[in-house]
Symmetry: C2
Amino acid sequence: MNGAPDITTRIGNKKHLKLVTTPEQAAAMIHPSDTVGMSGFTPTGYPKAVPLALAKRIEKEHFKIQVFTGASVGDELDGALVRAGGISRRYPYQSNNDLRQQINTGNIAYVDMHLSVMPQQLRSGFFGKMAFAIVEAAALTPDGDIIPTTSLGATPTMVSQANKVIVEINVTKPLELAGMHDIYEPLNPPYRRPIPIARAGDRIGLPYIKCGWDKIAAIVPCDIPDTGKALGAIDDDAKAMSKHIIKFLQEEVRKGALPYNLLPLQSGVGSVANAVITGLQHSVFTDLSVYTEVLQDGMLDLIDAGKIDKISTTAISTSPEGTKRFFANLPAYKDKIVLRPQEISNNPEVIRRLGVISINTAIEADIYGNVNSSHVCGTKIMNGIGGAGDFARASYLSIFCTPSIAKKGAISSIVPMCSHIDHTEHDVDVICTEQGLADLRGLSPIERARLIIRSCANPKYREQLTDYLNRSLEATNLAHIPHILKDALSWHQRFIDTGTMEEKSPNI
Amino acid sequence: MNGAPDITTRIGNKKHLKLVTTPEQAAAMIHPSDTVGMSGFTPTGYPKAVPLALAKRIEKEHFKIQVFTGASVGDELDGALVRAGGISRRYPYQSNNDLRQQINTGNIAYVDMHLSVMPQQLRSGFFGKMAFAIVEAAALTPDGDIIPTTSLGATPTMVSQANKVIVEINVTKPLELAGMHDIYEPLNPPYRRPIPIARAGDRIGLPYIKCGWDKIAAIVPCDIPDTGKALGAIDDDAKAMSKHIIKFLQEEVRKGALPYNLLPLQSGVGSVANAVITGLQHSVFTDLSVYTEVLQDGMLDLIDAGKIDKISTTAISTSPEGTKRFFANLPAYKDKIVLRPQEISNNPEVIRRLGVISINTAIEADIYGNVNSSHVCGTKIMNGIGGAGDFARASYLSIFCTPSIAKKGAISSIVPMCSHIDHTEHDVDVICTEQGLADLRGLSPIERARLIIRSCANPKYREQLTDYLNRSLEATNLAHIPHILKDALSWHQRFIDTGTMEEKSPNI
């Protein structure tokens, strides 16, 4: 244990110090083909030392395991294990380059799931037994219960369902995180009762994950910090989208469809969503609340600006700078933030009840309002559906954003027909690009198409889209959703064949 | 009022008998361009006399109105108004031949919505003001509150939101329906509280719709019975699907993933869904409960067979024979049935909590597990998404059924890519055809494709589907969701062009 950080003060019962071991010895406990649950939701709160040691072992011994996490995690987990050839199946979300590449070449079976559903299905035994949970912790209580760190994800369920638990105590995570978590694991039906959250900040559970010493197979010290993800600078497109959305929300307040402090906000991961949230800093809105899965830097800005009442999230997924700022001002932020399991943060019961305004990112949207948020040209997965489906369908208002073009204009994000659909026309109230915002509520498909082309499409593609719509109207004699099936996916095919969706001469 | 049925005994305060009038006089109150909400959910519990009179007036005066209902309704409403040219916009669901034809030729704007969402959006003012609600009732209480009939749908919200209410008292509906309803209208966020239902049969509200005499503009007597829909005889395909599903559920019970009495069942409208329910009559299951939007004849069979604990529904949508049977044994059935508003019967909060097993019908499913339940060849709408999306996403187990072929084999219900998607791969746990059942839980897209082709596709199309899958695997080098975009919708195009999806010689 030379050079290992001292975690003695973080273990609540000194009798169990004997469980402290090296990452290598903990990794040696895993059996080939085991199903292993790992903590983590976005690159925060995931174990690092044990997965790195496990990857090294797998490089020598050549075996594979099935990996569950809360959502995406850092490269020390997904990247290292994938490069070692150690993952056969992966659930329920990812965003790692190497993993993505292996999924898109048929080498890893990937099960892309609604994040609220996975813990319930795990408890119901839909995926068989979980051998180990490997869990990042800030500390262990005197009873062997777990004080988590900067994300909760599916960890409570993994700990309750796994045969044994390996706890990785990360000394880069302040002990003062304790008290920020609110852990409530619903019973499975038919024994489930209402989740008693009526406001984003309501606390309904315990501040630690029930585990107990008997279940803990090993305790491993770790001093590797979360990688974090640097956020891109807020560009002009993101600023424009932020403005459109804030203007739209102001108008809804004026009409009486939203209260002065809006309704709890959810915003997806990424620079655009972060920009929208950052933009609220300078808006007229106050007393805002957030009911989301990921807290990004923009939300710290909102807290600092005195705009926030409460934030409910399952992960503190700040940039490296954001993390420093968060840890430095932990007592001030702690009072504003509740960290929940993803089964609660993403639960349709609570989302529908609170009336969440969801703001998520699209890869592409079609003229009728369907959204693809996961697959490029319908085949290659980027990340997955993640929590967007949990939020969009149950929300009060569902907003999707995307810049109107990608690849310097070679791709139009507004297409005749999405090449893959994650969010159907029924789940999309508003589409927003830097060009403008289309409020689709109460419109028929043909009305939606005209509005999306006019308000959201890039001028470069507007004529081409109008041409498709007009030809489809004619070909189908104004069917409910006019399409020419031969041409519906031709934009994507043209991009694959020629490198651009642009038609050289329309109608040919 | 010559020949009008006597409704005196159904009006709780004789002082207000002066409100009784003719259908024509009530219909004369509607203004051109009004937004009118009508009771009804499936062809039951909808007003008939006033819509028929309104249609006659519109034939002479030539104007249009916007029509909201709970879901589909009978021909006296949708059919008559459409044939008179009287509907400009229609929300949120329909299943009428004439209306469908007008929607598919661009003459009526149709807004196809999740049924649980519509009442909330109506209350929030997303669609502007509602001038009138026209509501079928069994009786009016002494305070002018409404005892509904055989469906609740969105009626409570229409009554609360409309400026004025026209009550159509239908004497074909027994007064003994009183007490069967459970009316609970949630507050809008941020004031909403948990919906306190923990068992399918829990009663949480009032047995009448709050209205009051001041809001009632007219009371109209009506003696036209609901049309009802005759159910097709249960054919061999439906019997086979019922067997596959019951076998699957038995296996889940054996594995401990479901309790002995299953979890509350939902089944969509139609003969296949009805056959599945009927099949349960002869199964080992007892103490079943149902949490659904539509009660069909099969559920009366289940009650008669002593298999049912409680049924929660928003509509009693029996065949004409079923209705006779239901009314004749009302006291016996009443104890077993709770009629709720669609905002509650279809609420994701309750569906997720109870762990509903949803069984819905697909028009087509693709090899990756996406489902089209609304549009033929991607363009012409049949009915709409209805409640299927509310149930499928929030359910514990989501099952979709379809016969493997249609039009005597000219159409394969299993296709390379759905021509329209209502339910994404993430919302479909099981696909069942008469050929067999594919349990898709925990499988990657390529694994799903192999299983669906093997278990569900018709033998006639199996080779052609395998060929598509193999070519897509090769063309994309095993991408996450292999597709050849040029060919993905070619089956539908071939059907349009040649009358069959069958390839004469594959690969050409």
